[in-house]
Symmetry: none
């Protein structure tokens, strides 16, 4: 079980609980957290991040409903087995929606398509625990 650091930025546009969700999502997707690994307790993480325990609880609750973790009251939260919760149509719909959102966000920055795609690829590799050193 790798060392895990959850980072919260107050200047971020995303709400705190969403940042927590994203951090754990990426940690699980990249393999930094593996099935069966225990998450920090609600109280422990709330102290570590200096936020309200309810905020952590909300994030944990959503992670559970996303199927990424299993909750065991009295024991804690544990990384769940990988599974596909959503129908293929819903997955596709969400990918398209996120793509549209991304395009809207960057369209006025006047980058070329290649620059945009390269930037995305860099982040994708990073999220999978890979540094972008090879050719594109």
């Amino acid at each position: 079980m790798a060392k895990l650091a959850i980072n919260i930025r107050t200047g971020d546009s995303r709400p705190i609980f969403k940042q927590i969700i994203d951090e754990f999502s990426k940690a699980i997707a990249s393999g930094k957290l593996s099935q069966g690994d225990k998450l920090p307790s609600v109280r422990a993480l709330s102290v570590q991040l200096s936020i309200n325990p309810n905020t952590v609880a909300k994030a944990y609750s959503e992670l559970a409903s996303l199927g990424l973790v299993d909750t065991h009251p009295g024991l804690g939260l544990f990384v769940a087995e990988p599974k596909q919760l959503l129908s293929n149509m819903e997955r596709k719909k969400r990918l398209t929606s996120a793509s549209k959102q991304f395009v809207s966000d960057v369209i006025n920055l006047h980058f070329t398509d290649k620059e945009i795609l390269d930037s995305l690829e860099t982040e994708l590799l990073a999220s999978r625990g890979v540094r972008k050193t090879g050719t594109v």
Copy 2:
């Protein structure tokens, strides 16, 4: 003045005012609206889209502060001359930030990198008024 259709979807996750901004941004970026073209009046657009005039006004106000349009009090809003308001560092920062956000949004959908990049490319081309299949 080019033919222009502003589309608002009630099912969209973005707030209405943001959708308006994005629609005009894309229209300007793709050349469907050119420098000097007049935007519809607040009242006219609010009637056309069946939304609150305040919402349109808010969108127009942000378009102006983004530098995409010039306000001519008493006459209306006009597409501004293309300019670059942001430093290259700021542009790069926003691109990276949007990329990170996008990756967070789709990481748990379990698509391959290629599928994700393809989806984005499709939307990029669409935003530039191009269909992906078949060269233009």
Copy 3:
């Protein structure tokens, strides 16, 4: 749009927010609420049920993540278009899980299988807005 009554029972073993979710779920499944219908506002329902607004908000938030309603900040919540959010495997898994749970709950009441199945069928028909009057 039919008249809608949400009932909360303090003696119920389910938490309040879950009761609210179930009530709206059944209202939507049975057609008592149709696509596009507006749900009562968080504040209005919290007053009507004499509970904390946050509790209603939590229920509404889960209804949204279940895909049953669309939220439009500033406007309210509306019944969403019917869709299949979950993969067939996940649907089957949840059906089996619920069946097991149900059997565990009634196994010691010493009813015959037929009595149990009849009871369930009655409730199923009721949930679809049908009174059980025909033969079984």
Copy 4:
């Protein structure tokens, strides 16, 4: 004393003590455990299942208060004689309540009534030690 296997699943939504109760309930209802059979000791079962002895003790305590087992201090727990503790009205009430709960749980999975009833029948037969396909 019949051969008996108590199965605890960490992925189950039910708390551990409830799983233990359900397992013994089903074993008794199906005849796998008969009147007078001795249950494993608290310590033995807790070791076998790798769980906290308090959890086993809690389950045993509830089994006793349900009237399914008799406690003989110093000797252990033994399966009690079959008896009916609940009034018919109470039994019927609990069946209806469990049915309602079940319907609420599955109503949004969009299965047909037949699929739901089939799933339940399968589990009912399984709980009585019968496979559904092929008579026994």
